[in-house]
């Protein structure tokens, strides 16, 4: 192919502006025009080989002018913005654009891997399944053989190259709602949009290309007396000006989900040389439409013949678009090969634009006279009842061999004629684009008269219009668009109004092709150009029994390349149908899967790129950060792990913090605990049913620790619940459990016991929580609390009181997670930092220490309190030595299934503690075993919460051990092979400090 720029004039180069634009392809600078696509600019510069194919690395040129392009894939940009596999046909040219060809080494014109072609027929469908099994031997060696080969295969496969650098751009989203979504702005789409808009509907119109108009931008017909493209421009302007219409160009509707939810991707700045930094590069539109008009048109498909992959062979309608819209001749001498009327009109329109059309070859013998008449205008040689037998030229088309063709038998005649041409424009008929409705489950139907699949019955509120439903030609398309909009208005419960179909003057042709899909002359004929699937591969699949369409697709990889077979699926099916002696209708088709065209992953994530999840912060967050506390991601929360002094490790820090708490007093931020306000006349009864232990008789002003089970008897969550008034409780949950506990309560309140009067409200964010723990905690409170007697008598263990600290209203509960005398002080969270400061100040003379999660955890481990690692969804209260918390006097959630026999088995994993006997750290993730490091034996349990215990002066851990409650005193080993650790431990009771509770009751 040696394309060139035509003389631009009225009707030639309608999309092209005057401005010259510089761009770089494969390191070489070129010039194009404003309005060019990368493909048209390359073509205008005479570049013919643009890429290499996937398997055989054969040279490939430009095949189409749109998103169906299988061949012309390039890599755009450099560095972090490098983007592989971009279709040159869709890239809008801008100053400074850099593009490279791909899947070739060293260059697109000379590619070493093209040697694959020599392997030719050995490299056929199913090749990989039949070899590389490895040399006879079984086992790992054989796998290694495949793995060895695989490395090379992987390197040879793939298309372009990605980058290891993070994408510096950002992406956006838009949630949109409309009465009617119109997909496509060809004749049918515009007709639908105008009627829908006139009917007062909220309308969103999406167009994949930069400019609305579809095929109207290249057809020579007239609508309402003006050239079709001017009519389209007029419609576009009118629609854009309407308040109830959103017209989105460069926006592809990619996926059709349930209940008329669509995903469209808008390419916001991809065509700009210097986009504004605050503007997202692409925007995902989540569109919910009451009804939709799908007017996605049809894609031309080729006829398959030997050598049909040579650069220079392209779709006929695309050749016309290059000539008319981009003012670019696809070749110096163009031959047209067709099985339908389209080819003839394309020949005429190209000739009018100044392209030399040398030949028109039509497989049909009975071509209508008015169509034949066109050839006089084009001055091309006409061969009807003929077909292309083979292509001349090694790296690009230099000619073709034509032979007589029998349309009925598919046989080629003996006489051959060689023609000279550098471009073959092929038309094999039209395939309606019903990808969206097929994604939704709509079953396509083969329409023999049109030789095309049509979308079939709607499964949702959509109406097809135009070529998509087989309404080919402008007149039919406008009519069906108008009608579809009427139906869509009715769906949206709006008045249909009266339709209007504009008047069309122009060609009235038959779009139905002759049923010819392949010219079988024995040479290599490509069905799927990108994946190098040949007609022979399809027949081989048939021979090997892969006859179902899905097997055909999977075995040959037909239609699985980046173009998803847009121009090859129907042809492949037809060849399979012929091989199995079946009608196409009986062969079936595969379901299209979303998206319609490849979608940038960043665009799918939208605004979540770089912002995966919100952070939950406590009111004291800034203080923790200012102290250089190491912040720890605890679910959505960020929490301080420890407050390391200069030079301290985390372990040194938490040991210091723990010790200071046990000796004096410490302060910790517990604002992350879940908090639920439970109110109502039946609140006590409700809690009684939810918790394993009794809550009905809890006095006002008291808190109680409670356990919740799942219905299957396993532990669900725990926490303290405070009775603030007769009918008002403040429930606390674990940090991680807050959300699911709320849902659990709501389920029982709404669905199981709706007659209970209980109000539930999340107050997690209302209250900041600060625990003050240690023997001097009372002294600290005494120094700052007003309005409450904090003495043992005034505020006994588990007591809850209202008070103020520095004028801040607080609730003080005397609770102990640490085993020390301790309090939890809650205040409104906007006062959290102030309260923290006040407590801190009050504690200064007692050397109050802030402590983090690690120390918090160490304190509770020493005390033998269970937490997340023990509440792992596989433990029951009995396993955790909490049977005493399970009431036998009432029924509650989980009470029945907790009685199942298996839960009382003696060999269950039960809570114990272990302490190191050899000074080693009992490292996280260790199992408990009886054997040596080299021969540990089986796992008999595992450690759950390890730490160094300043109190015991050794490393300890809570653990789950088979039959553990009866094994105190036993010597075992902890085994941690992945950390290369092994050490001696003794099994002890989990009550490691103050088993009688004297300290916290003191």
């Amino acid at each position: 192919m040696s394309g060139f720029r035509l003389n631009l004039r009225d009707g030639v180069g309608t999309a092209i502006g005057d401005k010259s634009i510089q761009f770089v392809f494969d390191g070489k600078p070129y010039r194009g025009r404003e309005g060019d696509s990368l493909a048209s600019a390359l073509m205008a510069n005479g570049v013919s080989i643009v890429g290499r194919s996937f398997k055989y690395h054969r040279p490939r040129g430009i095949f189409s002018a749109g998103s169906e392009e299988p061949n012309a894939l390039v890599t755009l940009h450099r560095g972090a913005r490098r983007e592989p596999n971009i279709r040159a046909t869709e890239v809008e040219l801008y100053d400074g654009l850099t593009a490279r060809s791909q899947n070739r080494w060293p260059s697109v014109n000379f590619d070493v891997m093209a040697i694959n072609q020599l392997a030719g027929s050995a490299f056929s469908a199913g090749f990989y399944y039949k070899t590389f099994m490895g040399p006879g031997r079984r086992g790992h060696k054989a796998t290694q053989f495949w793995w060895f080969c695989e490395q090379f295969i992987r390197r040879a496969a793939g298309l372009g190259r990605g980058t290891n650098l993070p994408d510096p751009d950002h992406y956006g989203r838009m949630n949109a709602y409309c009465d009617i979504l119109v997909v496509g702005t060809g004749a049918a789409g515009l007709a639908a949009a105008r009627r829908a808009a006139a009917g007062g509907a909220r309308v969103i119109v999406c167009e994949e290309r930069a400019v609305a108009g579809g095929s109207l931008t290249s057809l020579p017909d007239y609508i309402d007396g003006e050239p079709a493209r001017d009519w389209a421009a007029g419609q576009r302007d009118e629609l854009s000006a309407m308040d109830n219409v959103t017209l989105l160009t460069r926006t592809t509707v990619q996926s059709y989900f349930d209940d008329n939810t669509f995903l469209a991707i808008e390419r916001v700045t991809d065509h700009q040389a210097r986009p504004a930094a605050a503007t997202p590069r692409q925007r995902a539109w989540n569109i919910r439409a009451r009804s939709a008009v799908i007017a996605t048109g049809a894609l031309e498909r080729p006829i398959v013949f030997a050598g049909n992959d040579r650069p220079g062979v392209m779709l006929a309608d695309a050749a016309r678009r290059y000539a008319v819209e981009f003012g670019t001749a696809p070749g110096r001498a163009v031959a047209v090969f067709t099985n339908n009327d389209t080819g003839w009109l394309v020949a005429r329109d190209m000739a009018r634009a100044g392209v030399i059309v040398t030949d028109i070859i039509d497989v049909r013998t009975d071509v209508p006279d008015e169509i034949r008449a066109i050839s006089e205008e084009t001055r091309a040689a006409v061969s009807t009842g003929s077909a292309i037998r083979s292509v001349k030229g090694a790296r690009a088309v230099s000619g073709a061999v034509i032979a007589e063709y029998n349309e009925m038998t598919g046989e080629l005649g003996e006489t051959r004629k060689t023609i000279a041409c550098d471009c073959i424009a092929v038309s094999g008929g039209w395939s309606p684009v019903f990808h969206l409705t097929s994604q939704q489950g709509g079953k396509p139907v083969w329409e023999a008269e049109l030789q095309a699949f049509l979308p079939g019955e709607p499964t949702q509120n959509w109406h097809g219009a135009g070529a998509m439903v087989g309404a080919f030609g402008l007149r039919a398309a406008l009519q069906s668009g108008d009608k579809a909009a009427g139906a869509a208005l009715a769906d949206a419960k709006l008045r249909k109004g009266r339709g209007h179909v504009p008047k069309v003057e122009g060609d009235a042709i038959d779009y139905a092709p002759a049923p010819v899909f392949e010219i079988n002359s024995g040479g290599k004929s490509f069905v799927d150009l990108q994946h190098d699937v040949t007609a022979e591969d399809v027949r081989l699949a048939h021979r090997e029994g892969f006859v179902s369409v899905e097997h055909l697709k999977r075995y040959t990889t037909l239609g699985m390349a980046t173009d998803q077979g847009k121009t090859s699926n129907v042809t492949g099916l037809a060849i399979m149908a012929a091989a199995s002696d079946k009608a196409i209708a009986d062969t079936g088709t595969t379901r299209f899967r979303p998206p319609y065209t490849p979608v940038t992953l960043g665009a799918l994530a939208g605004e979540k790129y770089g912002h995966l999840a919100a952070e939950r912060l406590t009111p004291m967050h800034d203080w923790h950060v200012e102290q250089d506390a190491h912040m720890y991601a605890n679910g959505p929360w960020l929490r301080p792990e420890s407050y390391n002094l200069p030079g301290e490790t985390v372990e040194q820090a938490y040991i210091r913090e723990t010790r200071l708490v046990r000796e004096g007093v410490g302060i910790v931020d517990v604002s992350t605990l879940g908090k639920i306000d439970v109110q109502g006349p039946d609140a006590a009864e409700f809690l009684n049913r939810i918790y394993t232990n009794g809550f009905a008789k809890l006095p006002v002003g008291k808190a109680r620790y409670g356990l919740m089970l799942r219905e299957d008897g396993f532990l669900f969550d725990d926490g303290t619940t405070w009775r603030l008034a007769e009918n008002r409780y403040l429930m606390t949950t674990t940090t991680a459990g807050a959300g699911r506990v709320m849902e659990h309560l709501e389920y029982y309140r709404d669905f199981v016991w709706p007659n209970l009067k209980v109000a539930l409200a999340s107050v997690s964010d209302e209250w900041a929580g600060i625990a003050v723990a240690g023997p001097k905690s009372r002294a600290v409170l005494k120094a700052c609390v007003k309005g409450c007697d904090v003495s043992d008598k005034g505020l006994p263990f588990m007591g809850v009181r209202d008070a103020t600290i520095g004028g801040i209203e607080v609730k003080i509960a005397r609770l102990s997670f640490s085993g020390e005398l301790a309090y939890e002080v809650y205040c409104g969270s906007h006062h959290g930092q102030s309260l923290w400061d006040l407590l801190f100040k009050a504690g200064e003379k007692h050397n109050i220490v802030p402590y983090g999660l690690e120390a918090l955890s160490t304190l509770r481990i020493e005390k033998g309190h269970v937490a997340g690692p023990e509440l792992n969804g596989r433990t029951t209260p009995h396993d955790l030595a909490l049977s005493g918390m399970v009431s036998s006097k009432k029924n509650f959630v989980g009470s029945v299934l907790l009685q199942r026999e298996t839960f009382s088995k003696a060999d269950r994993l039960q809570l114990v503690a272990v302490k190191s006997l050899d000074g080693q750290r009992v490292s996280g993730g260790s199992h408990l075993v009886s054997g040596s490091k080299d021969n540990p034996g089986r796992s008999q349990g595992h450690v759950t919460s390890p730490c160094y215990s300043p109190e015991l002066g050794c490393y300890i851990s809570l653990a789950m051990l088979e039959g553990g409650s009866a094994r105190h005193g036993e010597k075992m080993f902890f085994s941690n092979p992945v950390r290369n650790k092994h050490g001696a431990v003794e099994v002890i009771s989990h009550h490691m400090i103050d088993p009688t509770g004297g300290r916290m009751h003191g």
Partner: protein, 180 residues
């Protein structure tokens, strides 16, 4: 009796007045409530509770669920006041003054900014001026009160308010934004 210190907003350092971009198609600001209360009526007391709520002065009452309202008062002490009138047999009163931060957004592009992160139909046929919608931005729940065609108050969970602010500021930047 010492007075309580001033409440501190988690957005105090983020929502500093400034201009982002050259235009100001969106205006953002934040505030804390003097009082914010949730009222939940029992199924058989909805009418009585509604009557009580109608007597409230200097309050914005936003329906927030079946038999449920979110009420912002311009003075402190709304919770205690309501609890006196709204006894246990009528419903439940929950104080949420500290549980939310209010972020206000206004301007010609306000709805577009909101629609870029909140799955809600902002058309006035669905979301009338003066009404309230419950929605969310990903995992962040929101109560949205529409004050005018292009003016909204968003009641955002305190612990998540910084994340939300970061998003809305970035989303507003595309159109030009002023923080006041």
């Amino acid at each position: 009796m010492v007075d309580a210190p001033e409440k501190q907003s988690p957005l105090r350092d983020l929502a500093m007045p400034r201009q982002i971009g050259t235009e100001a198609n969106v205006e953002l600001t934040e505030r804390l409530c003097d009082s914010l209360v949730q009222v939940q009526a029992w199924p058989n007391s909805v009418g009585k509770v509604e009557k009580i709520l109608k007597t409230l002065k200097r309050c914005v009452t936003m329906p927030s669920g079946p038999g449920r309202w979110l009420i912002e008062g311009e003075e402190e002490g709304l919770e205690e006041g309501l609890r006196r009138e709204l006894t246990d047999d009528l419903g439940a009163v929950t104080g949420l003054t500290h549980a939310r931060v209010v972020i206000s957004i206004s301007g010609p592009r306000a709805t577009r900014v909101l629609a870029s992160g909140i799955a809600l139909d902002f058309d006035e046929s669905n979301f009338a001026v003066g009404s309230t919608q419950l929605a969310h931005h990903h995992e962040i729940g929101l109560t949205i009160h529409r004050l005018a065609e292009d003016q909204f108050d968003l009641y955002v969970f305190t612990s998540l308010s910084r994340s939300f602010w970061q998003w809305i500021e970035k989303a507003s930047a595309e159109y030009g934004c002023r923080i006041v």
